[in-house]
């Protein structure tokens, strides 16, 4: 299993310079990827824009959206944007897509909440068509970005198995990931796909001792889930040992790549995580 690190692009108030430097430092560290999250109504950076900036200051790491809320975006625009980040980075983009969990993002974007599953399904085929279209570019890279799909329901897993290259899990303890991984593999086989889906996991960490700040961020970011936010905040990995156990739990469950997202936007957090996963 490979381990990547999230950019602090969803931690409120993180300066742009910090986000960009973070990506640069991640490229020098033991990490194999940098990840971003998506949200409209929040103090955060647009994920593909953040990855475009990251592309400029990195040479090695994969650039991953975990996820982009697909139906909020026009498919042609998204295809163009993703192809651009992919080309700018020399083919390092992995595009994770899902429906998202917040209705207010849809309301703000003026997009119907109903029918969003069908919309994502059309988007998955539409993106490939646009990427294959000779009249469209940039075409600096031969192979299209890998497509991942997230979501825990049967129809979401079926969509992943039919039309994506892998599955992106929404987070949780290793045993929750293991269960989801079994379901994803079952869906993949059921659809008649050869091999196995690429399985991506995610977690949160705060290793600098300021656990209250990390918890406050998670409580705020996940406030829309009600008391579940408390659970998520309790799952924040705040010690090297917790990180190691989490990483080995995910590895045992068959995760291919795990991205750990910072909950405190302080560059020393990156160094601490680098020390643990090195």
């Amino acid at each position: 299993m490979q381990v990547g690190i999230g950019l602090p692009a969803t931690v409120p108030g993180a300066p742009g310079r910090l986000v960009v430097d973070w990506a640069h430092r991640a490229d020098a560290g033991p990490f194999t990827s940098v990840g971003v999250l998506d949200r409209l109504q929040y103090d955060n950076y647009e994920p593909l824009t953040a990855l475009a900036a990251a592309a400029a200051v990195t040479e090695r790491v994969a650039l991953v959206t975990m996820v982009v809320i697909g139906p909020l975006r026009n498919t042609a625009g998204l295809a163009k944007q993703a192809a651009s980040v992919h080309a700018l980075s020399g083919g390092r983009l992995t595009l994770g897509l899902a429906l998202g969990a917040r209705r207010d993002d849809y309301d703000l974007a003026g997009i119907d909440y109903a029918g969003r599953g069908t919309r994502l399904e059309e988007q998955l085929t539409g993106l490939r068509d646009l990427w294959d279209d000779e009249a469209m570019g940039p075409r600096a890279v031969l192979r299209r970005p890998d497509l991942l799909v997230g979501g825990a329901t049967g129809p979401a897993l079926a969509r992943m198995a039919r039309l994506a290259d892998g599955y992106v899990h929404g987070g949780g303890p290793p045993r929750a990931f293991a269960r989801a991984a079994d379901e994803a593999r079952a869906a993949w086989t059921d659809a008649g796909r050869p091999g196995a889906p690429k399985l991506w996991g995610q977690g949160y960490f705060a290793l600098g001792g300021d656990t209250a700040r990390g918890a406050a961020y998670l409580l705020d970011y996940y406030a829309f889930t009600g008391p579940f936010a408390q659970r998520i905040a309790e799952g924040n990995l705040t010690s090297p040992q917790a990180v190691r156990q989490f990483v080995s739990g995910y590895a045992d469950a068959g995760c291919d790549e795990l991205i750990l997202f910072p909950t405190v936007a302080d560059p020393t957090e990156l160094d601490r995580l680098a020390d643990v996963v090195a």
Binding site: E121, E122, L124, T125, R128, D132, G154, P155, L157, A158, A161, R162, L163, A164, R179, D182, E183, A184, R185, A186, A187, T189, D190, A191, G192, R193, P194, G195, G226, P227, F228, Q230, R231, G254
Partner: protein, 719 residues
């Protein structure tokens, strides 16, 4: 946490209300708590209640004193007895404990009183009467008035089941959890019985509504019902009496609610959720609710947060339990489906019915019972024909199975998706190598992916086929290589992709149309498989004749190639499947309309294949158990179809679900197709092959030993 004292009103004085009251009072003696019970102190319905060890552990943590009193009043036992067809089948090593419901209530009432909780008996209150309370516990049972006062908010769904049951006591002292299955002239009755103190046992009688009416129990009074049941079970009661406690025949009601919390009103226990009595968990869930609520209130100074936390914590646990209870309930509702099973298999099914006990976990509890199942399974239906008893036997997955003249060394099937492409349908050396590697895996049967019977019948240009004259020889080399590699036999699936043809290779995804070099598609009706897919032509009579001839030619070629088993693919939205599903078949000729017409073309294909395929070799059909979509086929359709295919000469049904349209709403997980296989096998009485999330040999053993399927596709996590 230093929170302010609360005024708490419990509407209902059953175990949930009393236990929540005592735990709240214990956490903060300044809470002002009143429990309103509509009946006097000693009135109770039902007899004993059962708890597991895990639940008892939670009681001990929550309140040691009541835990001690409860366990002091317990009876404990470890055996499950199943009386079926005049035999007693005993499985030991389980851990049960039970207490008289009346005694449990007494303990909780006393403990409440000691902690300063006010107990108001014969006190029927409405929500308005407790308007001054900071927190109202809705613990007034299945027909909760508290809940129904805010019905629009809680959105209760009450699912009243058709089976009839009655809750008796008996002065027979049992030493096991006892299931009785008794045929009567009026139909089948079953009993769930267990001890709850040193002198008496709970004795629940259950039957279908039809049997209940035939027996005249719909018009029987209390004494007549008792007399009927005492006579029916006289040999078990051995002179003991059945005791009524205002016992009436009722229907079980499964309660679910969209929400459990409304402002300061919170639902617990049966008011919030019920779980079928066959897994003995109503009181357990109610008291665990109480523990979670008291903890949440103690931890969160803010009451709305506490109540939301309670619901968040309990709902997933309760729903998992309700799922298991639903499996158990449906099993007991459908008992006639399983009464053809022989005693050991019937018992194994009963023990593993809700998915909480598996072959492997049962072996840990009772190795000898499982060894008995193994021996019975290995000996097969010809039991008693051997010269002596079996001493050792392989587990069910590793027993041989004979299909016509073909014997598989075991019942484990592998069905790889080939990575190696075929060139114009012809398999190359790499296909032979891939299948050989699977043949050496230890499985009894290797199945190919669908081999197209015509070039247009391929889903992708890389798909293998059996349509050109030279294909038979090419497959003959593959089969020989695989047979040389291991003990597995090799089966071929024959298919025609129909409306799902002319797509890109599957490593990219499925149903992505070819950008160039596609071919015309064929289907029952001219409807594209997916949005954006090519529109197929509706098959003409001449097309149908040609397809039938192609399947027959492919069957002959398969015979020549030396395949041991043949599967005709009539599932997954392929050509034959497009006839079966009403979602894709809109024909108005003799091949459309009712199910028997929609099955006509697939049956014509199977009949032609059967005639062309060796009489001594088995034929299977790949069948969709359910379209999993509105307006689509459901399992009863598949049962009828399975019977028709069996009559046309099929020896085996390979079970699939969904994929007839991309709009299916599947659920994936461990053994996600097993329920369908079970119903098809045990209603249509046909041999069944099932796959789907069966990851370990233990999973396969659980499915086979219970008679839910005859062969299983193993999908190991890693290979």
């Amino acid at each position: 946490m230093g929170r302010r004292p609360l005024r708490v009103a419990s509407v209902g004085g059953g175990p949930a209300g009393l236990y929540a009251a005592l735990l709240l009072a214990k956490a903060n003696p300044d809470h002002d708590i009143t429990v309103h019970e509509r009946y006097p102190p000693d009135v109770t319905f039902g007899w004993g209640v059962v708890f597991s060890d895990a639940t008892l552990g939670r009681f001990r943590e929550a309140d040691l004193r009541s835990y001690t009193q409860i366990t002091d009043s317990f009876v404990r036992w470890s055996a499950i007895d199943i009386f079926y067809r005049g035999e007693r089948l005993r499985s030991d090593g389980h851990a049960f404990a039970a207490i008289a419901r009346k005694q449990l209530l007494r303990i909780l009432q006393q403990r409440c009183a000691d902690l300063g909780v006010t107990l108001e008996f014969s006190s029927e209150v409405a929500l308005d009467d407790v308007a001054g309370a900071d927190l109202v516990l809705g613990v007034d049972g299945i027909r909760s008035a508290v809940r129904d006062a805010h019905g629009g908010w809680f959105q209760p769904r009450l699912d009243e089941r058709r089976a009839k049951y009655i809750w008796y006591g008996t002065d027979l002292v049992l030493d096991s959890f006892t299931f009785l299955f008794r045929d009567s002239p009026h139909g089948l009755f079953q009993v769930h019985a267990y001890p709850f103190d040193g002198t008496r046992s709970t004795f629940i009688v259950e039957t279908t509504e039809e049997t209940w009416r035939r027996a005249g129990l719909d018009t029987a009074d209390e004494a007549e019902s008792i007399a009927y049941c005492e006579a029916l079970f006289a040999d078990h009661l051995r002179g003991a009496r059945l005791l009524s406690n205002q016992s009436r025949w009722v229907n079980f009601v499964t309660v679910r609610n969209a929400r459990w919390v409304h402002d300061n009103v919170v639902l617990l226990g049966d008011a919030a959720h019920t779980a079928h009595f066959s897994i003995g968990s109503g009181t357990k869930l109610a008291m665990e609710d109480a523990i979670a609520l008291a903890q949440a209130v103690d931890e969160h100074p803010d009451l709305p947060t506490a109540l939301a936390q309670y619901e968040k914590e309990r709902r997933p646990v309760v729903e998992r339990f309700q799922d298991a209870a639903q499996d158990s309930l449906e099993y007991f509702e459908n008992i006639p489906r399983y009464t053809h099973l022989e005693p050991l298999q019937f018992a194994f099914y009963l023990l593993t019915r809700s998915g909480r006990i598996t072959y492997d976990s049962l072996r840990l509890r009772d190795a000898e019972f499982v060894a008995g199942v193994d021996r019975w399974f290995a000996r097969g239906p010809a039991a008693g024909e051997g010269p002596g008893p079996l001493l050792v036997a392989p587990p069910p997955a590793l027993t041989a199975i004979r299909l016509r003249a073909v014997e598989l060394v075991n019942r484990v099937v592998v069905a790889p998706v080939l990575a190696a492409p075929a060139a114009d349908g012809e398999p190359g050396e790499d296909v032979a190598a891939e299948l050989s590697s699977w043949a050496a895996s230890g499985a009894g049967l290797v199945l190919t992916p669908p081999l197209a019977v015509t070039p247009e019948g391929r889903a992708t240009p890389a798909d293998p086929g059996l349509y050109r004259p030279e294909h038979a020889a090419a497959w003959s080399r593959v089969v020989k290589a695989a047979r040389d590699a291991g003990p597995a036999l090799v089966g071929a699936r024959l298919g025609h992709a129909g409306p799902r043809g002319a797509t890109r290779p599957r490593r990219e995804g499925v149903d992505l149309p070819l950008r160039a070099g596609g071919w015309p598609l064929l289907a029952a009706s001219a409807r594209p498989y997916a949005p954006g897919a090519a529109v197929p032509a509706a098959a003409t009579p001449a097309d149908l004749d040609a397809v039938i001839a192609a399947f027959a030619r492919a069957a002959e070629a398969a015979d020549d190639a030396g395949f041991d088993l043949l599967v005709v693919d009539a599932a997954d939205g392929y050509l034959l499947s497009s006839f079966v599903s009403p979602l894709t078949n809109r024909r108005d000729d003799g091949y459309g309309g009712p199910l028997e017409h929609r099955l006509r073309f697939p049956l014509e294909v199977v009949t032609a294949v059967r005639a062309a395929w060796g009489e001594d070799r088995p034929l299977a059909v790949r069948l969709t158990a359910s379209d999993l979509a509105d307006g689509g086929t459901t399992v009863p359709d598949a049962v009828a179809a399975a019977r028709a295919f069996a009559a046309a000469g099929c020896d085996l049904v390979e079970v699939r679900a969904g994929h007839t349209t991309p709009r299916a709403r599947p659920a994936y997980g461990p053994g996600h197709l097993v329920g369908y296989a079970d119903q098809i096998r045990n209603e249509a009485r046909v041999g069944v092959l099932v796959g789907g999330g069966l990851i370990t040999l233990g999973d396969v053993n659980t499915v086979l030993a219970a008679g839910r399927a005859d062969l299983a596709v193993l999908d190991p996590r890693r290979r």
